[in-house]
């Protein structure tokens, strides 16, 4: 065995030990977490550890399978390296053999290469002639294609040409000329032709999808040209924009009554749907709870949230969409006949009979089934909890009550937040005059 072999062998052993330690630590952590949870359910420490082991299954088998999967990958890589080395050796040997065969065969090979080159030139000439024909055809069609130029208010529909990747994007071009898309964030599209949009999107998506051919459909802002049919609740889509108000461009401070959407640019984490900024200037966000946002600009908020979410999700680029009902510019003021159910007050607003409450698990693991109405006896029926007194309590006081009731039921001790909707007592309609004052 050479020194090189010995070093390689020692390196392999060290790598295998590191993998084994990692697997062992992960499985041990699982058993500790499970035992901790069982102790929380009232089991004695020793019984909890025993039960955790039982529920885990065959620890030795799991350990072996994990090591097999992890080390299998390393061994495959090593085998690949061996194969690559063998191929290189074979190529060197072949080259040496060809050199040895001498002049006659070399001349023959040269003649064959010359013939192949001439054939390739003829093929290239034919292809060039065909390309000229195609470009003439494209030139004839070009004026019709170039007539479609993206403008603010248009909707861009994005599709994978081969329908392999589910892009399913329909995004509204905002006042600053940009659209917000999953994975790639804000993309400037205004003033571009459809082909230029496709090119720009293909470049933007290139780091995420291999060999993706992007098709874009530009739906013009005229109502009759907008896509029919239900749109998904995708950020910036026209149906949602209409219900939430005008999308406001960056640089505009957030005010009470605005609605904001927080989006993970990579689309990996659900950061919740659109939320109205409440009377305290705060908005309810997953993981963070009620967060002050009034006075911040859209992109300032995005930067702050990227930092705030770091402990939960690591490096998570966050984008923000800002909607304003009946904007000061008055460009899209909802009709006074449209009833808008209003988010009521702030942390200290007292719940009354007829209001509705929406309870949300801050970690978004428990489902409380949407809004629940406060019954005439002042109670509200919630999943996991049953009937609980709500009327007479302040909003956040009620949230604490629910959190306290959940603590003994769930290992993870969930924390809940509450949104309060006043429906029976006061139904407000939004108008451009009213929106600035609340």
């Amino acid at each position: 065995m050479t020194l090189h072999d010995l070093a390689a062998s020692l390196g392999d052993a060290a790598q295998e030990r590191a993998v084994a330690r990692d697997v062992e630590a992960e499985l041990a952590a699982h058993l500790e977490l499970a035992a901790e949870a069982l102790q929380g359910e009232g089991h004695a420490p020793e019984a909890a550890r025993r039960l955790a082991r039982e529920r885990f299954g065959d620890l030795d088998r799991v350990r072996r399978e994990c090591l097999s999967v992890r080390l299998g990958g390393i061994h495959v890589m090593k085998k690949l390296l061996v194969v690559v080395n063998l191929v290189l050796l074979a190529a060197l040997a072949a080259a040496a053999g060809f050199a040895y065969l001498g002049h006659t065969r070399a001349v023959l090979a040269m003649e064959q290469a010359q013939l192949a080159l001439e054939q390739a030139r003829a093929e290239a000439a034919r292809a060039e002639a065909l390309a000229v024909d195609v470009s003439r055809l494209q030139a004839a069609v070009a004026p019709a294609l170039e007539a479609v130029v993206v403008e603010v208010g248009d909707v861009i529909e994005i599709l994978d040409q081969h329908r392999i990747v589910d892009l399913s994007e329909q995004a509204l071009v905002q006042p600053d000329g940009k659209v917000l898309l999953h994975d790639v964030g804000w993309i400037d599209v205004v003033g571009l032709t459809r082909e230029q949009v496709e090119q720009r999107l293909a470049e933007a998506y290139a780091p995420y999808y291999q060999d993706l051919t992007v098709n874009a459909i530009v739906h013009k802002a005229r109502p009759e040209a907008r896509p029919s049919g239900a749109l998904d609740a995708h950020p910036g889509d026209p149906a949602q924009a209409e219900s939430l108000g005008q999308i406001v461009s960056g640089g505009t401070p957030i005010v009470v009554g605005d609605t904001i959407e927080i989006l993970d640019r990579n689309g990996r984490f659900d950061l919740g749907g659109p939320r109205r900024v409440d009377a305290d200037g705060r908005v309810l966000l997953p993981r963070l709870g009620w967060t002050p946002v009034a006075g911040l600009e859209r992109d300032q908020l995005a930067e702050q949230l990227t930092v705030a979410y770091q402990p939960y999700f690591g490096q998570l680029p966050v984008d923000v969409l800002l909607h304003r009902a009946g904007s000061a510019a008055g460009s899209v003021a909802p009709s006074a006949s449209v009833v808008v159910e209003d988010v009521l007050g702030g942390a200290t607003t007292v719940i009354e009979v007829g209001d509705s409450v929406e309870v949300l698990d801050r970690q978004r693991e428990l489902d409380f089934g949407g809004r629940a109405k406060v019954a005439p006896d002042g109670k509200v029926l919630l999943p996991h909890v049953g009937w609980i007194q709500a009327a007479g309590k302040q909003r956040d006081e009620f949230a604490r009550s629910v959190t306290d009731l959940l603590a003994p039921l769930f290992v993870s001790s969930p924390t809940v937040d509450v949104i309060l909707y006043e429906r029976g007592r006061e139904v407000r309609t939004l108008s451009s005059q009213e929106s600035g004052s609340f």
Partner: protein, 121 residues
């Protein structure tokens, strides 16, 4: 009356475990124990995974590039390995989900067809 522990276990068909894990991770990064608990809760206790079986599956998915892992701290301050969905995993989830829906719809058609055949015979 059957005790809670007596309720029949559902055996997961081939590939279902990976689909469940991908779907659970689509809601946020989690460690293995939290994944098992989330599946149990989401299925209203009907699906109780053999917890150990999760880990070889998670490591396979990591090798395939569907999930990425990182050591971190739990809410109670314990070290645990957290898994998160990668963009590749997100695509895989969409594809697996569509395949699963097609498969269950097809099985449903066959079952309904057999019942109808029985009545007409």
């Amino acid at each position: 009356m059957a005790a809670p522990d007596d309720k029949p276990r559902i055996t997961l068909p081939q590939g279902a475990l990976e689909l469940l894990v991908l779907r659970t991770l689509a809601r946020g990064a989690r460690h293995g124990y939290a994944i098992a608990q989330a599946v149990k809760r989401s299925s209203r206790e009907a699906l109780e995974l053999e917890e150990g079986s999760l880990y070889p599956a998670l490591h396979r998915m990591e090798r395939r590039g569907w999930v990425a892992s990182q050591w971190g701290l739990t809410d109670t301050g314990r070290r645990a390995k957290f898994y998160a969905l990668t963009p590749e995993g997100k695509k895989r989830l969409a594809a697996e989900r569509r395949a699963w829906e097609r498969m269950t719809a097809a099985v449903g058609l066959v079952l309904r067809g057999r019942a109808a055949g029985g009545q007409s015979a």
